[in-house]
Amino acid sequence: MAKYEPKGVMPALVTPFTKDGDIIEEGFKDIIDYTIEKGATGLVPAGTTGEFVYMRTEERKKLFKMCVEFADGRVPVVAGTGETSTDATVKMTKFAADIGCDAALVISPFYLRPTDKGYYEHYEAVARKGGLPVIMYNIPQCTLGVLQSNIVEDLAELDNIVGIKDSSGHIGHTLELIQKLDGKIPVLIGHDECFLSAVAAGSSAAILASANVMPHIWLDIMDKVRKGDMKNAAKLQLSVQTFARIVTRNGGAPPVKAALRMMGINAGYSRMPLNSGGTLTHELRAEIQIELEKLGLIEALTHPKATKDIDIHAVLGKFGVGPDYLQDAGIGKGSEDTVSVAIVTGPKHSALGSAFVKLLVNPRVGHEALTVILEPNLPVRPTSIMVPIKKIKSMRQASLFYGPVQSGAARAVAAHLKNGKVPDQAIIDNVMIMALDIDLNSRNRRQVTAATERVVSAALGQIWK
């Protein structure tokens, strides 16, 4: 039998669970079909992304069987057989061997963790008795222990040890392994953010959480590196960098499952305690959606551009603040494609003071007013609020409005204060209401912040020359 050699890009398969925690077989099959169709060179069930720590022995065995059945010989199956004890790991690996898995991914023991000698003997036992080629697995963020290079070098001498997956995200450590192993066994990169750096330095395969979603992009990067097209390889890596970062820094499985669901694949949910929205927040889901749109993995909705010339009377009228409130108010406007603004300001004793209170405490749904702040606990003067003209319906809209727009508006006011353009009396006496509209196609928050600062500054310039 030819020795198994890990290569290419393999997804660390998520395990789809219903909200009650049952495995969704259909969904699991769909992910396998999807990733193989997209070029995945192997499948890794019950890895960290597969939430193996939440599965009992029998369930894991069942999952391996399903995986072998669904893969149907198309690509090799590398089973995540690591357990906390050596005996259990050997048993699990034997089982995987018996049902036809091609290799085992074995995590370093955790919770009660050994130091160097203990690691050596653990892997030696699994390699000798498990009956499968073994890929060692270093993920100190979870295990709290590191597989040091000298142990890995020694273990690489053993027949059945065929690779090391390094998910540490510590590029120094990954390169140390590549250098010292010197091709004796391959180093598999297991950290999505470090993919290009590791592959460029000689990592010959990868097992990645985000390869559930985009194995083809990772393979494309690998291909470009091998052809020496570093420029385009880097361009591609950077295009997926945000999604990679979201995945590696937010629990792995929850963001990957959310992405697959958005793409119409029934990847289900995570098991308790990783499923209550503490890891995968509403805000994070909105970010994932934006990234998938950017990568062309889901269709992007198109939104209208920002309104050019805001009719402030009409706008505020819809929020319950009629023209009577705006008598004597100074008005300024500014607009660009991304963002536009109309500002009204006047003394708080005037009707505008009442408008200010009304918009703040009796807001129309989706048009909630907020204080204009440079950052929380640092509001601007004159005392100011801002209202979105388009109804805020999604977290995406909220994340653009109550962040970049708020920040840009505040910076414009602060700049006017700094340049001495706001009369002293107005600083004390005035209230200011800003109605703002944004182009919801915007994705770059820095640009939104800068554009908002420009339009608000232009509007303030019309009020206080």
Binding site: S276, T281, N362, N377, P404
Partner: protein, 491 residues
Amino acid sequence: MTDDFTFKGVYPALVTPFNKEGVNEKQYRGLINHVIKSGATGIVPCGTTGEFTSMSFDEKVNAFRIACDAAKGRVPVMAGTGAASTREAIQLTRRAAEFGASAALVVTPYFLKPSTKEIFEHYERIANASDIPIFLYNIPQVTGVNIDWWLVDGLREIDGIIGMKDSSANLLNLTTILVRRPDTFQVVIGHDEVALPALATGCDGAILLSANIFPDRYIRMQAALARGDLKDGLIIQRGLQKTIRLMVNKGGGLAVKAALNMMGIPVGTARAPLIEGDSLRYEDIDELRTCLEDLQLIKRGPVKFKMGDKTLIAESYPKANGMVPEVIDDLTLLHGEALAGEGLEVAHVDLVMGLRDGPLKEALAAAGTITDDFHASNIIKDLDPTTVFVSTVTIVDEKHNALVYEVAQKAVADAVTRTITDMIIPEELIPDLVIAANVFVHPSANNPKRVHINNFRAVRHAIRRAIERRQDVNEIVARKDSARHPFAYNP
């Protein structure tokens, strides 16, 4: 070489007041007088709290001179003479001795992390060259170097090294040091939050940043422990815990300076790069202020509230120095904003207040009415002044509903009540005043206790900021470019 120095009691790690030229001698002497009057049994110039790394060699020497002169005949001086290089530490120790310092506190070398062999030699050289006894100083949080107990085994044998200050808060290492030391080796605790357990387990005294403010309380703690009264000691430590947690973790000397300034003991601002509103966040400053009020360290006095032709007076307003105007001259519409806490339980409050017949009429008119597509608000029952509660978040489930309308609403009511008992609002003004608070509770929030605490704090701070018109225009202008809106960045 004299080794006859015995550490007794509690020394403050003095903050260093600065002016443009260097050390502000007048304020420094004022501070030293304050701490000695308050019971300090010694002083430490140029410690970590004293921002020694922001001072030139000559400025440190000048600080030693002032401290030794101001303390003369009253309390001993233990000079902070540590430096990254051995040579500079030796020179500083010599200069401190010349001015009459009784001992030197020498921090481990930092930044470039020497090996234990080199640390050993560093201390050996300094001790050999010094006429005054040396205390080792362990503060791994900032140096990156830890003095392990087994290293102390050797260091304490060096002639001239007679003691150690441990600021690590690592009670495992500290206890081992205490168990192994001979009686002649003195060990003092340098971390305020664990002063009680450290003293109880055998430390000889303490050098603390909060001893700039209330050295007397630690003296009493030590006395209680000396007579075997652990309970009394515990009461003292617990009474200070929140105040010192804030100061230790939010800027150290920066926070101590803010506190002293609020108390009316002027010590100026910290040197850059330490600035208020950064590691010591705005919410920390407001929270620290209320802590000092609870400890009765903030002066109270009258603040005038103008209401048309009438003037109402809050007689006992807590007037943290530099934060409170003498006159609030317009009660038409006051606006405050505050964020408190972090994570999913964060509270972010927009608040308006003003006279009943002013713009706040709008809040009263809308409260209790239901208009399609508009958020509903309500007047909180049995609460004076009249307070309108507004939630602008769309309720997602029953738990969220309870967090908003039970927990957060109760927090608003508690904060308004607390403002009255804080004596912020003149009694005659209460019937004429209306407050409206916009509250946001995140749909994924979970922890009711934190939702309550954070909203309580945010409303309490927002009311004060509205009345006192904070932050002021200078702060807005100064932080225009460095302010960081947490949601303004790409993921």
